[in-house]
């Protein structure tokens, strides 16, 4: 059984007991434990079920590479699925539950897959479940979906109780990984004066060197770590972060740091995670190495663990995963585990070394009384929910001639692979190291930065060297190289001297035993979580899925939540062997960020709830909100769709506003319309290019409606232009158009006509603008007093500066409703006061505010087009009968040439008309008119479509506009619009002006 030892445990505080629950069972651990170490201390060997076969699974690693021991953590608004126990710090009250089983971890129905595993090899689902067709969607897939899926989904209405944030940091050198290599590299870089940031994913500095032993400059490793950290802490140019993982390396020196601020103190004040967006001139990846499992039958039984992990559990947390342990290895390092265990009082029954000979560590082991068997291998581990015994065979064989030994844990070591993920994310290349049988960074092909030079340097075991001495030497060089790359002079200096017991060379062992028969290969796991075995990779190769990417995708090797940290190289080697190719020729799959999964919350950062996206507000926003506004998002703005009174529906409110504005007085908050000042000696010439109409000839004091097209000919905006003085114009844009059109103007001025003397400024928000509309519009303004707003003093399509009701203002006599109408602009800071004054003064004239829907109906009654309704990016002004607004005199304007192309001048283009339903009903939004027959693809021929359709309370019937083929030539014709409701709507083609055809009302 796994249990807490009486001694050891450098990271735990035995004076601080912590209580937690696993699957409802209360357990005890210590402060400093990980959830994994605490579970082991409570003899919880089995912690989950695998993805496909639902096999019992235990803890196999001690860090980020753990594939098996994932749990659902927390509850309610803090529940999180798939949390890795090995990287979860234990805290009091922690609640964890195991995953992917039903009804319970011990008794899981899904395990039936295990019993028929032979019938479910890789890719079996591509070959089966094909017939009968409807069964995939309705039978097979639901079963597969339910049995896959790993962690429990959070409740559908869950709202995350925590907050998240981002932080931008700029450094010369970012060092990722706080082991001895990272510490040393950071120190060297920092001493050059470079601004250094050092981040470490765990809660502790030093990495695994303190566990592995040895000395640095004659002192224990722990002491070196302590000293270096305090040296770094004392330097102003160094930032140190624990619990901050280097998640990804991106172009131009961008790196993501994923800081888990309060995962170990849930509910604490402040954000839970912080996503660091770090810009570094150079990045040092001191990310260490990960031990590889050995591929033998039953290597997935709970109790089989990486040798280094077993050592970690003993040394760091004072926990042993077993009391009678067998060690299997192809290298000397695993002997350290045996020695550590033995010294901690654990029985080490055998060391099975696949090699024929080992180094001095073997002598030390033997000296402690441990039996070492050279050339031996594990044929099979027996046991279901925990290890019971091991069958031993010769490594060179098929797995016969077994001796069986009872034990309760197995430590395995297949050698070490540098963590090259962060080196590789942004294009760093790898080379195959034959001696250590691993891929390591190729220093000649690093990721390239903005200047074309390499910007990532690997350091320590992440770069290949595995012994303490080599690691420190390498880190010294890496730190100096990074500082130099960042433009600093680093002193070469001498690396600290690391000393450990010398090791004999490892020997690559990709399968144990070397010629294992198929029954064993079918039980030799490569990818523990996704249940990919040696036989699966061999099957993929046999079936022609020869590219490493094909194999990965066909078998799902390396696609689990650990992203193949343990399985990739082993799988690759099996593939290479199957193809009879060299490993480096087969190559690796692509390493993609993040290094380990990061929370969606952290990625989203602060952008949630009220600050998810900006809501732009006019000065009268709060008044609208208080006054029943039913809001409509328009770009980033919100505009009142209608002001709904108690007892009214939205539709009622719209009809009331429509009638009142035509009959009495309506107020519209028009502040969102864009206002651009265009000034300069060449401003007239410039606006003549921007607009289809002539703006240079506009007289000072007057207004003109203008159309803007893209260079591709299509309408992009419209609005009223006012000439302010000899060289100044004010251009109104649509709501949400201000920034776009401002940018559009600047683009042409800066990149095409940069010699034209024109300045543009966006003054949209300087003003609150109110449309005062209706037969009583003049009366209310006259009541407020000030400027002469009479027909004579302020005629239609003119503007004046002055005062109304004591407010400085600019009044435009323009109308988008066909009514007598003024748009009055006052300084934004007085917008609300001005609005209040109008509401107060307007009482006797029946004033009511109106919203965007009323605005739309009023303009539709008049046949005025709306950008975004009548236009959709494919419509040219000619389609809309706006020839009058297209200057014939001008040689050039944006869009003119485009509008000469054959398809633009095609007489068959659909043209704007009015549409009146025969029965007075309202045409459906977006309905299409049909012609005869079908086209070559069997689609109904269409001859037109509805662009705007409303119920007009003033006319008591539905009105619409639409684009119809040859429309203007077909006045009076009735055409048919099939609705999606099955009805056919019949509408007569009419003039688009439905109300006050002679325009008498606006010009009074």
């Amino acid at each position: 059984m796994s249990t807490r030892l009486a001694n050891q445990g450098r990271l735990i505080d035995r004076s601080k007991q912590v209580t937690f629950t696993f699957n409802g069972k209360t357990m005890q651990g210590y402060e400093g434990d990980t959830l994994a170490s605490a579970l082991l201390a409570n003899d919880q060997m089995m912690v989950g079920r695998s993805f496909k076969y639902h096999r019992p699974r235990g803890i196999v690693a001690s860090g980020a590479e753990e594939p098996n021991a994932l749990v659902g953590l927390g509850e309610g608004s803090r529940f999180e699925p798939n949390q890795r126990t090995t990287t979860t710090e234990l805290f009091d009250g922690l609640k964890a539950e195991s995953q992917n089983h039903w009804p319970s971890l011990e008794h899981d129905i899904g395990v039936v897959n295990n019993y028929v595993a032979r019938f479910l090899p890789s890719g079996f689902y591509y070959k089966t479940f094909i017939h009968p067709k409807p069964f995939w969607k309705h039978v097979y897939e639901p079963i597969i979906r339910q049995s896959a899926g790993l962690g429990k989904a959070p409740d559908k209405e869950t709202r995350d109780a925590d907050t998240y944030e981002h932080f931008y940091a700029f450094v010369d050198v970012l060092v990722i990984g706080g082991g001895v290599a990272g510490l040393q590299a950071a120190k060297v870089a920092a001493k050059s004066g470079a601004k250094v940031m050092l981040i470490e994913q765990t809660a502790h500095w030093g990495g695994r060197a303190p566990v592995d032993g040895g000395t640095i400059d004659g002192e224990p490793v722990d002491k070196f770590v302590e000293q270096t950290v305090s040296e770094l802490e004392a330097m102003d140019n160094v930032t140190l972060r624990l619990r901050c993982m280097g998640a990804g390396v991106y172009d131009h020196g961008y790196a993501l740091g994923y800081e888990r601020i309060s995962d170990h103190t849930p509910g604490a004040q402040g954000p839970r995670h912080r996503l660091w967006r770090i810009r570094a001139k150079q990045i040092v990846t001191a990310t260490g190495a990960i031990e590889r499992p050995l591929s033998f039958a039953g290597n997935d039984v709970p109790g089989v663990m990486l040798a280094s992990a077993m050592r970690d559990y003993v040394v760091n947390w004072g926990v042993t995963p077993g009391e009678r342990v067998i060690v299997a290895t192809n290298n000397d390092d695993a002997y350290r585990t045996a020695i550590t265990l033995k010294k901690a009082g654990v029985d080490v029954l055998r060391i099975l070394d696949a090699r024929d000979s080992a180094g001095p560590l073997a002598d030390e082991a033997r000296g402690l009384g441990i039996r070492v068997d050279p050339g031996k291998a594990i044929a099979k581990v027996k046991g279901g929910k925990r290890v019971k015994k091991v069958a031993i065979c010769n490594q060179n064989g098929i797995g016969g001639a077994r001796e069986e030994v009872e034990c309760d844990a197995v430590a395995m070591s297949g050698g070490w692979s540098p963590v090259v993920h962060l080196w590789s994310h942004c294009g760093g290349k790898l080379i195959w190291d034959e001696a250590n049988a691993h891929f390591r960074p190729d220093p000649d092909r690093p990721p390239l930065g903005a200047n074309g030079e390499g910007f990532v340097v690997a350091a320590g075991s992440a770069n290949g060297p595995l012994s303490l001495g080599d690691v420190l030497t390498d880190a010294q060089a890496a730190g100096a190289a990074a500082a130099k790359g960042a433009g600093f002079k680093a002193k070469a200096g001498k690396a600290p001297v690391g000393e450990t017991t010398a090791e004999a060379p490892m020997e690559a062992v990709w399968l144990m035993p070397a010629n294992a028969e198929v029954q064993l290969r079918m039980k030799s796991w490569l990818d523990f979580q996704n249940d990919v075995k040696v036989s699966d990779v061999q099957l993929a190769a046999r079936e022609g899925y020869e590219s490493v990417e094909h194999t990965k995708r066909y078998t799902t090797l390396g696609m689990a939540t650990d992203q193949g940290k343990l399985s990739n190289i082993n799988g690759l080697a099996i593939l290479a062997d199957s193809l009879d190719a060299e490993i480096p020729k087969v190559g690796t799959t692509t390493f993609r960020p993040p290094y380990t999964p990061i929370s969606m919350g952290a990625i989203a950062g602060e952008a949630r709830g009220e600050v998810f996206q900006p809501i732009r507000r006019t000065p009268m926003h709060d008044w609208h909100d208080r006054s029943g506004a039913d809001w409509e998002p328009v770009g980033q703005w919100r505009r009142p769709y209608a002001y709904v009174r108690p007892g009214e529906t939205v539709h009622d409110a719209v009809n009331r506003e429509v009638k009142n504005t035509r009959e009495n007085l309506g107020l519209l908050d028009a502040s969102t319309l864009g206002k651009l000042i265009v000034k300069g000696p060449d401003a007239g010439k410039f606006l003549d290019m921007m607009y289809t109409n002539m703006m240079s000839t506009l007289k000072v004091g007057k207004c003109r409606y203008g159309l803007m097209c893209s260079e591709n000919g299509f309408l992009i905006d419209d609005g009223v232009v006012a000439r302010i003085d000899e060289d100044t114009w004010l251009c109104h844009t649509t709501t949400g158009g201000a920034e776009r059109i401002h940018a559009h103007m600047e683009e042409w001025l800066q990149t095409e006509w940069w010699d034209w003397k024109v300045y543009v400024a966006n003054v949209t928000e300087q003003y609150a603008q109110v449309a005062v509309v209706g037969p009583n519009a003049r009366k209310v303004l006259e009541k407020l007093g000030g400027m002469d707003v009479s027909r004579e003093a302020l005629p239609f399509m003119e503007w004046r500066d002055g005062q109304i009701g004591g407010f400085d203002c600019r009044a435009y006599r323009i109308s988008f409703s066909g009514e007598l109408s003024y748009e009055i602009a006052v300084p934004a800071s007085q917008g609300q006061a001005f609005w209040d004054a109008l509401m107060e003064a307007g009482k006797e004239f029946g004033v009511m505010p109106y919203g965007t829907e009323c605005l739309h109906i009023l303009r539709a009654e008049k046949g005025f087009i709306m950008i975004g309704d009548e236009t959709d990016g494919t419509v040219i002004p000619q389609d809309l009968g706006l020839h009058w607004a297209i200057s014939k005199k001008k040689e050039d304007f944006l869009g003119k040439r485009a509008q000469e192309r054959s398809h633009m001048t095609d007489p068959d283009r659909w043209k704007l008309v009015g549409l009146e339903t025969v029965d007075g009903s309202v045409l459906p939004d977006g309905a299409y008119a049909v012609g005869e027959g079908v086209n070559a693809n069997g689609q109904r021929n269409m001859i037109g479509r509805v662009t705007s359709t409303y119920y007009s309370a003033n006319l008591g019937r539905g009105i619409a506009m639409g684009l119809v083929k040859h429309g203007p030539d077909r006045m009076g014709e009735v055409i048919e619009f099939p609705g999606t409701d099955g009805k056919i709507y019949k509408a007569k083609i009419v003039d688009p002006v439905f109300y006050d055809k002679d325009g008498e009302k606006q010009n009074v």
Binding site: L448, A450, G452, E711, N712, A743, E746, T751, K896
Partner: protein, 109 residues
């Protein structure tokens, strides 16, 4: 996540401050141009895997348009320069030649 130096305000701006504006040094063709000329002006774009000249706007910054010479295969930036030019300036072309001997882009090399 690119960083480009805005030649107008001198900021090393990261991509989120910038707006990409497509290929640089395109000659406008208006009324009077042939269908082919107009088509190429609007739609035909160099799409090189390698050296490219393009327009950017420092939109969340000084608001100015500028040009950048960049490699589309490695994202290396050879330099940024004024938008008020009709062709890549000599020093930019030389900087590219130093890094990518034999490069070619449209009529420039």
């Amino acid at each position: 996540m690119l960083i480009l130096n805005c030649p107008y305000c001198g900021v090393d701006a990261e991509e989120t401050e910038l707006t990409a504006g497509g290929e640089a040094h395109i000659k406008r063709h208006g009324p009077g141009s042939s269908d082919d000329e107009f088509h190429d002006y609007l739609f035909m774009r160099e799409n090189p895997k390698g050296v490219h000249f393009e327009r950017w706007r420092h939109s969340n910054g000084c608001g100015k348009w500028f040009h950048a010479a960049r490699c589309t295969a490695t994202l290396e930036v050879f330099g940024t320069y004024s938008a008020q030019t009709t062709e890549p300036p000599k020093e930019i072309r030389e900087a590219i030649s130093a890094k990518r001997p034999g490069w070619k882009w449209r009529e420039f090399e």
